[in-house]
């Protein structure tokens, strides 16, 4: 469990800018938490605080009953929680896929055999085994992002924070990375996914809407996205069929505003047609 207690984060420009304002939040073990919010809402900062890359200006963050210090407990932190960013190319450091995966392990006194075993395990997890001896630039965007994730997974973290991991990827890469994230969550890794894509946001157990550094809405996806006007008032928009049902309802047609699947909304519209 990760617990944020009255966490704030500010920087000076030189005038003080409050990016995160007094946030209280519990991330449960095994949970799939999604964080959404407009550009500048503080999502990425919150992600960096949760993954102990930034230290809060005020408040504290407790991870599994401990309060690690970034500068002292660096290795312990990285064995517990990893963070993946938007651009895989900023996270890939080696010339060969397997070396890149092993990079984080190299200073940790593992034997060569142990390192080999860990690479084996992770490379299969992300489906890159056939590219083991290849240079990373041989891989597609989606594969490079999976490689970046593999480099984190090799540390065997229980928590994984992903900051818009699919925003630079093509549709196939996006699908691949999302499938991987879902699988990792099923295997017990706690996922904190920051995204602008609402079709990804609905995958979470819980969605957190951040606005101006504060929690604006929080709940299950079906609860949060029903609040179409609230969601749009903070620069976001619900998944397309939820928004469509909202627009139709505004024309005085009786339709539920909810998370619709394609087949469901089609049936509903056909029903509505029969009634007239």
């Amino acid at each position: 469990m990760i617990e944020l207690k009255n966490v704030s984060f500010s920087y000076y420009l030189p005038e003080k800018v409050d990016v995160i304002k007094n946030i209280n939040l519990i991330v449960n073990k095994g949970e799939f938490l999604v964080i959404i919010g407009r550009n500048g809402s503080g999502k990425s900062t919150l992600g960096r605080l949760i993954s102990f890359i930034l230290e809060p200006t005020e408040g504290e963050i407790i991870i599994d009953d401990k309060k690690p210090k970034i500068d002292i407990d660096y290795i312990d932190i990285r064995k517990k929680i990893g963070m993946v960013f938007q651009n895989p190319d900023n996270q890939i450091v080696s010339q060969i896929v397997e070396e890149d995966i092993a990079f984080g392990l190299e200073n940790l006194n593992y034997s060569e055999e142990e390192i080999e075993n860990k690479i084996d395990e992770v490379i299969n997890e992300v489906n890159l085994a056939e590219y083991r001896k290849f240079p990373p630039n041989f891989l597609s965007g989606g594969q490079r992002q999976k490689l970046a994730i593999a480099g984190i997974l090799v540390m065997e973290p229980q928590y994984l924070v992903l900051d818009e991991p699919t925003s630079l990827l093509d549709p196939k890469g996006r699908k691949d990375v999302i499938e991987l994230i879902k699988r990792l969550n099923k295997e017990g890794i706690t996922i904190i996914l920051i995204t602008h894509r609402m079709e990804e946001a609905v995958l979470g157990d819980r969605v957190l809407v951040l606005n101006e550094g504060e929690i604006f809405l929080e709940g299950k996806p079906e609860e949060v996205f029903k609040e179409v006007e609230k969601i749009r008032s903070v620069g976001l928009s619900p998944p397309v069929f939820t928004y469509l049902s909202y627009l139709i309802k505004k024309e005085n047609i009786n339709i539920d505003i909810k998370l619709w699947k394609l087949e469901e909304i089609k049936k509903e519209i056909l029903q509505l047609k029969l009634k007239i």
Binding site: R38, N39, G40, D170, G173, H196, R232, L262, L270, L272
Partner: protein, 291 residues
């Protein structure tokens, strides 16, 4: 792909058998464009799709002479791009390129300085420059109050719009946009899409959109070219491509769900006049059928 040449329309961009290799002659040389042919009419919006590494970025850098072809040619309004300095200067007035994450290129202390940077090099009077800066800001949905602000104090969506305004202040006839909505929040994205539509419809700017977002492509462009390994492998009318399951699968595209809904309702006997290119069209079409 064969495109019928329409005598009535000017050709804005013509690319013929374009080849380009990076690091030519070195052990790690990379053939980025093997043979690219494409045609864009004036006032048209086209999309260029393809995987990361398919050659999209290399292609667009040829459109205003940042890169010069190894062989083949690129013509803008009938004139072949060449290395002549005067020609290039003029070319960059005609073809504006908004690169990916253009806000990273903002450099000045105020929005005014950033947006006026281009026009200042055109030998215009102060009044003409100011007029261009202001109209460009208004075009992107910002206003006078932004002129003296620091670009760094703006939100991500606003920064992106300032960066686009700084290209628009050159009054390009052809606007090339590389992933213009990537990394933007949903409403920021809607604003950019509206802006591009306005430029196309009201200002008759020719649009070349490079994108991974099928939603953006469907909502904005008339025709699509698909690039793979440095070649145009497919092309055609946007709506018919999204209707064609084979090409969708073959080129790893994905069909936006809103579009699928329109096709499904049509099959069920709904009277659908316009394909569902976005949620507003979908609403309009459904309401008409329900009233």
């Amino acid at each position: 792909m064969e495109i019928r040449r329409n005598q009535e329309r000017n050709i804005a961009v013509e690319v013929k058998d374009l080849k380009y290799t990076y690091s030519k002659g070195l052990p790690y040389e990379k053939e980025a464009l093997v043979s690219v042919n494409l045609l864009v009419f004036e006032g048209e919006a086209i999309g260029v799709l393809g995987h990361t590494g398919s050659g999209k970025s290399t292609l667009i850098q040829h459109l205003n002479g940042i890169l010069m072809p190894d062989s083949g040619e690129v013509k803008i309004f009938g004139e072949k791009i060449n290395n002549d300095k005067k020609f290039l200067k003029n070319l960059r007035k005609i073809v504006g390129i908004v690169f990916q994450f253009p806000e990273d290129e903002l450099f000045a202390e105020t929005v005014y300085e950033d947006v006026s940077f281009g026009p200042k090099n055109l030998g215009l009077t102060k009044e003409e420059i100011d007029e261009r800066v202001l109209t460009s800001l208004i075009e992107v949905g910002l206003n006078e109050s932004y002129l003296t602000r620091s670009p760094f104090s703006l939100s991500g969506g606003e920064k992106r719009r300032v960066a686009i305004a700084s290209i628009l202040s050159m009054r390009p006839k052809i606007l090339v946009l590389d992933e213009p909505t990537s990394g933007l929040d949903p409403l920021g994205r809607e604003e950019i899409l509206k802006l591009i539509k306005r430029l196309k419809n009201d200002k008759k700017v020719t649009i070349i959109l490079v994108s991974h977002s099928m939603e953006d492509v469907l909502s904005l462009v008339d025709r699509v070219y698909i690039l793979n390994k440095g070649k145009v492998v497919f092309g055609g009318d946007t709506v018919s491509i999204f209707k064609d399951k084979d090409s969708i699968e073959k080129f790893d595209l994905s069909i936006p769900e809103i579009f699928m809904l329109g096709e499904e309702l049509k099959k069920e006997g709904f009277n659908i006049e316009e394909p569902f290119r976005d949620v507003e069209i979908a609403k309009k079409e459904i309401i008409r059928n329900l009233k």
